[in-house]
């Protein structure tokens, strides 16, 4: 096993303010445009701007799209099923964060 020397690198933070075009989002999630469009149709992600060439997606879409992609691929669920699953998963994450807070208060 070879070890390369460490280099210091900084990246882009994909937060709410970060904007991606449709093709950037496709590349980030390694999906063809049709599949990303299907996710827009399903309401999983919402673009800003008029018309596909003007569309901008927020950086947080990357994680959502990737999770839907993985669930479809690995669990054999269809798009509406994966969309429902990530909504529920995000709700669970939110509730777990709240639960941790209330448990600390005890």
């Amino acid at each position: 096993m070879k070890t390369q020397l460490a280099e210091e690198i900084s990246g882009a933070l994909l937060d709410e303010c970060y904007e991606l075009t449709l093709s950037e989002l496709c590349r980030a999630c390694e999906l063809p445009a049709e599949e990303v469009l299907a996710l827009v149709e399903e309401g999983v992600i919402e673009p800003l701007g008029q018309g596909r060439t003007q569309w901008r997606f927020s950086g947080i879409c990357v994680r959502r799209v990737r999770r839907v992609r993985n669930l479809k691929r690995d669990l054999g669920v269809n798009l509406p099923g994966a969309a429902l699953a990530i909504e529920l998963l995000e709700e669970i994450e939110h509730l777990q964060a709240q639960l941790r807070r209330f448990e600390e208060q005890l």
Partner: protein, 323 residues
């Protein structure tokens, strides 16, 4: 195939919780159930990802009657984790379609799997990952990184070590380790991703290198808790501070601040420090949640103080309960 090294035997039936005579339907059901439970995008449990890989590998073999028959031929006398060396002629008479190529990510599979079924068409930018068609650009890669809440307030540099396969000079894949010092930008929140351009898998035929995505998670903190950009602190106060009001010193991840507890505060009362949550582009708020802590009455004078305290009030907190 690599036959000259030893590795641990994997009991694929046991991994899926099945008997060796399980039907193909039972195998599929068991896999689906475990995959849902341990999928890294579903489960936050530690070790879920490793468990998911193990389950996928087991299913990869058992779902395919050819591979299953070959695996079964090894016999049932093996124990999980036992040192394993495949018999030199073990796969004679079996033909694996596509050279034993797998649809799942073959790089995620164990040496044990590899020794039996090969890596299948390994070449950079081809075959690994979820799409099998030729692509010149290298694959994106993903990793999780755990940071402290304070790192998000100040920004930080974190060292991460990544393992990845590369073709060696002999044409065989070899495991390489790479250490990166990554700048964690100020203001990151749980679950956000950092994209490190050009740090993914190398491209093929002059194609670009893929990107590395780092998903941020916070280590649990001993007294702060975080929800999105909002940070909470449970602050213990004495009954007299809560009743009479007080100025108290309160820790925040940016340093201690003076805070006024208003008179007649109670447990659960929230005091907001606007904009002192996670310093994202739009900063979150910091909430101090009061928790009134009565002192124990251990000495006679302390008990006397509680008695006088009780005499001074006409107060029944259970009045609404019909008590």
């Amino acid at each position: 195939m690599v036959f000259n090294k030893t590795m641990e035997y994997k009991d694929y039936y046991k991994i899926l919780g099945l008997e060796r005579d399980a039907s193909q339907d039972e195998i599929k059901r068991a896999y689906r159930k475990l995959a849902r439970k341990y999928h890294p995008d579903v489960s936050a449990e530690t070790g879920a990802e490793d468990r998911f890989k193990e389950v996928s590998e087991a299913y990869e073999v058992l779902k395919d009657p050819e591979k299953r028959a070959a695996y079964d031929q090894l016999g049932s006398g093996w124990q999980s984790g036992q040192e394993f060396r495949p018999p030199p002629d073990w796969d004679q008479g079996f033909e694996f379609h596509g050279g034993g190529f797998t649809e799942a990510d073959p790089e995620a599979f164990s040496d044990f799997f590899e020794s039996l079924f090969g890596r299948g068409g390994f070449s950079p930018g081809f075959g690994g990952g979820f799409r099998r068609e030729f692509r010149a650009r290298g694959e994106n890669t993903y990793a999780r990184i755990a940071i402290d809440l304070e790192d998000s307030y100040r920004g930080a540099t974190r060292q991460i070590t990544l393992k990845h396969s590369e073709l060696g000079p002999d044409g065989r894949p070899q495991l390489r380790e790479r250490t990166l010092n990554v700048k964690i930008p100020k203001g990151v929140t749980e679950g956000q991703q950092i994209r490190l351009a050009g740090q993914g898998e190398p491209g093929f035929g002059g194609g670009d290198t893929g990107d590395l995505y780092l998903e941020i998670h916070f280590n649990p903190h001993s007294f702060y808790s975080v929800e999105g950009k909002t940070v909470y602190l449970d602050l213990p106060v004495t009954p007299w501070e809560a009743a009479l009001g007080a100025k108290v010193r309160v820790p925040t991840p940016e340093g201690a601040v003076n805070l006024t507890v208003p008179a007649n505060s109670a447990t659960g009362g929230k005091l907001r420090l606007r904009g002192r949550g996670i310093p994202a582009a739009e900063p979150g708020d910091f909430y101090v949640v009061l928790k009134v802590v009565p002192p124990p009455a251990d000495t006679e004078s302390e008990r006397e103080a509680y008695r006088r305290f009780g005499d001074a009030f006409d107060f029944n907190p259970r009045s609404g309960m019909g008590g």
